[in-house]
């Protein structure tokens, strides 16, 4: 049976040729890698946009270095005009949220890991999977193309509040905002396909013995995230289609002159938008749990509590959306309601943090790069979470809403959290994905540089936010009360440049190691989960023989065992009595 499976795999491989192996592959591992590469490319673009924003904030109305070639009206001899500035932060956020974080955590790692870690040969629907990548790629092309149409790209913020976004006359952006809407709809279709695949696969294709409570927590996180996407994306799609109709087809969902209600947009957007941010962070929490357990050589502390906490976050995530709207003019009573639910949702995240600490307690900790990134995830996410408490308190939010305090919070949870989790996941599973080891020294240099410059770039945002520095403003020096804070903008920009430069180290490490890295052993981390049972890198069909699961994923340092790890698929030793 096993030989036939391998032979079949080889045959498939040779039959395909370049196009069906690398372009229209239906192998979840290849699709996962396609998502990864597309997203890393988008991350570069999103990062450059952010650097331009930071340049303008530190040195308003001066030429951005290296950008003198950009034609008018985008830039004027390298100087960013206000119209372009609004496009820069709009597209930065849109690209990072929709085309980087979700495609990497959910598209790349969801795809690569789910079948391998549950002991399946591939996803339930391989063709659907292949389509989901190419539809996402098409959405990316649409989104990037929107920059080049007349009027430029969307400029109403990634939150696209109506009426600003609902009538082209308010921003001067025409087709670009419409393309933004269409790209989001198309991307949503890709995500929905992925969700259907992941949920079906996890429910139906688990290997014998792999009960739900023997699933690795990263699979739990991806399962829950897939359900959130399934429920949230159609609602967003409806909202943006309504926006498109207001813009182009004469409706007035959000336009008051036609009887519409602008605040409806906010409700519709944030009803999606809040579950969305948990979509962004939950897989990161799953990744952190995997890695912390492996590199502490200890079971995860409170496995069931960890799974339940993720479910609680997912549930509660549906009833907190109004906290983005405390100052919107909605009924103040709603402010109280949403404050209460928002305070409550902090609890499961706190539980998870304590459980990660509990996992480290009494452990035997090694500081390989995946562990460094995972620890940074926990540390930075705690800061992001704590800053959220200020905003949850509605009276305090009166002051800090729409200031840089919020921007600081966002980046601590999404960069400090999700992006560090992405680096952790890449460095941890790279050996399995590419059959090579990443260079440990380069990884450590990247880690420390990123951690230090990340904090230099984003911590002062809390400070200037407390000083009242607003978001999305083009020139802080226009405000007298902000002048004493301006030096922080310069510090943050220098930090951002440093942060950007250190990512070059990662890029070099990633691509160089892929071809010239040291060959990876089958299980370089001595980890228990099923993906390490498969050859490195795994062939089509993943396993020579489908494994049987005998235990949970975190049986490390089991007393009486010779090794400090005990794979899920290792048969229970016959007791000699």
């Amino acid at each position: 049976m096993s030989e036939a499976a391998v032979a079949h795999g080889h045959e498939e491989h040779h039959h395909g040729g370049f196009v069906s192996t690398y372009v229209f592959s239906m192998d979840h591992k290849m699709i996962g890698k396609q998502f990864l590469l597309l997203s890393l490319f988008m991350m570069i673009i999103g990062g450059i946009l952010a650097l331009m924003v930071r340049w303008q904030l530190a040195y308003p109305e001066t030429a951005v270095p290296g950008m003198a070639w950009v034609p008018e009206p985008y830039l004027y001899d390298g100087i960013i005009p206000p119209e372009t500035y609004n496009m820069l932060f709009t597209m930065h956020a849109t690209i990072m949220v929709f085309f980087v974080i979700i495609p990497i955590l959910v598209g790349a790692f969801g795809n690569f890991l789910i079948p391998l870690m549950i002991g399946a040969r591939d996803m339930a629907f391989p063709l659907l999977n292949m389509l989901s990548f190419w539809i996402a790629a098409f959405a990316g092309v649409l989104m990037l193309s929107s920059v080049f149409v007349e009027g430029g790209a969307a400029a109403g913020g990634w939150t696209a509040y109506a009426p600003l976004s609902a009538n082209p006359v308010y921003t001067g952006v025409g087709l670009g905002q419409d393309m933004w809407i269409v790209a989001i709809v198309v991307l949503g279709i890709s995500s929905l396909m992925g969700s259907i695949n992941y949920i079906t696969t996890i429910i139906n294709l688990r290997a014998p013995g792999m009960t739900m409570f023997r699933l690795p927590l990263v699979i739990w996180s991806l399962f829950i995230t897939a359900i959130l996407l399934l429920l949230a994306l159609p609602e967003l799609t409806a909202a943006v289609v309504m926006l498109l109709f207001d813009r182009r087809f004469g409706t007035s969902f959000f336009l008051p002159e036609g009887g519409g209600e602008p605040i409806l947009w906010q409700h519709l957007f944030w009803f999606f938008g809040h579950p969305e941010v948990y979509i962004l962070v939950l897989p990161g929490m799953g990744v952190a749990s995997e890695i912390i357990s492996v590199f502490s050589r200890k079971p995860i502390f409170g496995y069931r509590a960890m799974a339940m906490a993720m479910i609680a976050i997912a549930f509660l995530g549906w009833v907190v959306w109004g906290h983005h709207m405390f100052q919107s003019g909605m009924n103040p009573t709603l402010g109280m309601a949403f404050m209460t639910t928002t305070m409550v949702i902090a609890v499961p995240s706190a539980i998870k943090t304590f459980n990660w600490l509990g996992t480290l307690w009494g452990g035997s900790i090694t500081f390989k790069p995946p562990m460094l990134y995972a620890l940074a995830f926990v540390s930075m996410f705690v800061i992001g979470g704590l800053s959220g408490i200020y905003m949850a308190a509605t009276p305090v939010d009166i002051f800090i809403h729409d200031t840089y305090f919020i921007v600081g919070h966002i980046h601590y949870v999404v960069f400090g959290g999700s992006v560090f989790a992405i680096f952790a996941a890449i460095s941890y599973w790279f050996p399995k994905m590419y059959g090579k080891m990443m260079n440990e020294t380069l990884s450590k240099i990247h880690f420390f540089g990123t951690l230090i410059f990340f904090n230099i770039t984003f911590f002062p945002m809390h400070i200037i936010g407390v000083g009242g520095h607003m978001r999305r403003i083009y020139n802080p020096t226009q405000y007298e009360f902000l002048l004493p804070l301006q030096h922080w903008n310069v510090i943050m920009t220098i930090g951002a440049i440093g942060l950007g430069l250190f990512q070059i180290v990662f890029a070099i490490n990633f691509f160089w190691s892929m071809w010239f890295g040291e060959d990876a052993p089958q299980n370089p981390w001595n980890a228990n989960t099923l993906e390490w049972e498969a050859p490195t890198p795994p062939p089509h069909g993943n396993f020579l023989e489908i494994p049987t699961v005998y235990r949970g994923p975190y049986e490390y340092s089991v007393p009486g065992e010779k090794e400090d790890w005990l794979p899920q698929a290792q048969p229970v030793a016959a007791t000699a009595h």
Partner: protein, 218 residues
């Protein structure tokens, strides 16, 4: 963080700042406790030859403990916040002066009702970006928008209220100190969002009376 808060010249600003400081101390303590514990564990439990990790799957008592403790703190914060929120957003005290703010791309049109205290009459006066109020008096703002969503933000008053086209939204404040203060717009409203700036001029009783007399002398 605290030294960067702008000065407070608002009667309810103190309540808001109190909550801010309380949360600051609670989060600072939790932050330190968590980060120090993290680093301590990393040092104490780093891999050492001969020592095996402790095999445990968790502790129910601890789970319950660290579920209840944060919940209590957070519920406490929510309860404390309630009265301030009601005071600022839900209730308006007896009003001394009413002014309308008509926000538009990219200015605050401030409309004063004039001596007849009624809007829409001949003695109404519109000033661009200039909000004149008497000190120690309750000022009610009726906020409108002519086009997109803006946000009337006065940092020193701890006042922020989004304006919405198609709707009247009311807010209030009582300034405790005279002076001139900036009123930025705090909601992205288009390419002129940055620099959309008004000025609040809080005047002493005498000064305010002279201003009124001068403005409506015709």
């Amino acid at each position: 963080m605290l030294p960067w808060l702008p000065e407070n010249i608002s009667t309810y600003g103190g309540d808001i700042d109190y909550l801010f400081k309380l949360i600051f101390w609670i989060t600072a303590i939790v932050f330190l406790a968590v980060q120090v514990t993290l680093v301590w564990f990393l040092i104490k439990y780093r891999a050492q030859p001969g020592r095996k990790a402790i095999y445990t799957h968790g502790n129910s008592l601890l789970e319950i403990g660290w579920t209840i403790a944060p919940s209590l703190i957070l519920v406490f914060l929510a309860v404390l916040s309630r009265s301030t929120w009601d005071k600022v957003k839900a209730e308006i005290p007896p009003v001394d002066v009413t002014v309308q703010v008509h926000s538009k791309q990219f200015n605050w049109d401030i409309v004063y009702p004039g001596p007849d205290k009624m809007f829409g009459t001949e003695d109404d006066l519109t000033l661009e970006n200039e909000l004149n109020v008497p000190v120690h008096k309750v000022v009610k703002l009726e906020l409108f928008s002519n086009d997109v969503i803006h946000s009337f933000f006065v940092p020193v008053l701890r006042f922020k209220q989004d304006t919405m086209p198609g709707r009247q939204i009311d807010g209030w404040f009582e300034a405790t100190k005279t002076g001139v203060y900036e009123i930025p717009c705090a909601e992205l409203c288009g390419f002129g969002h940055s620099g959309m700036l008004g000025h609040l001029e809080v005047r002493s009783a005498q000064d305010y009376a002279s201003w009124v007399a001068e403005r409506w002398s015709k």
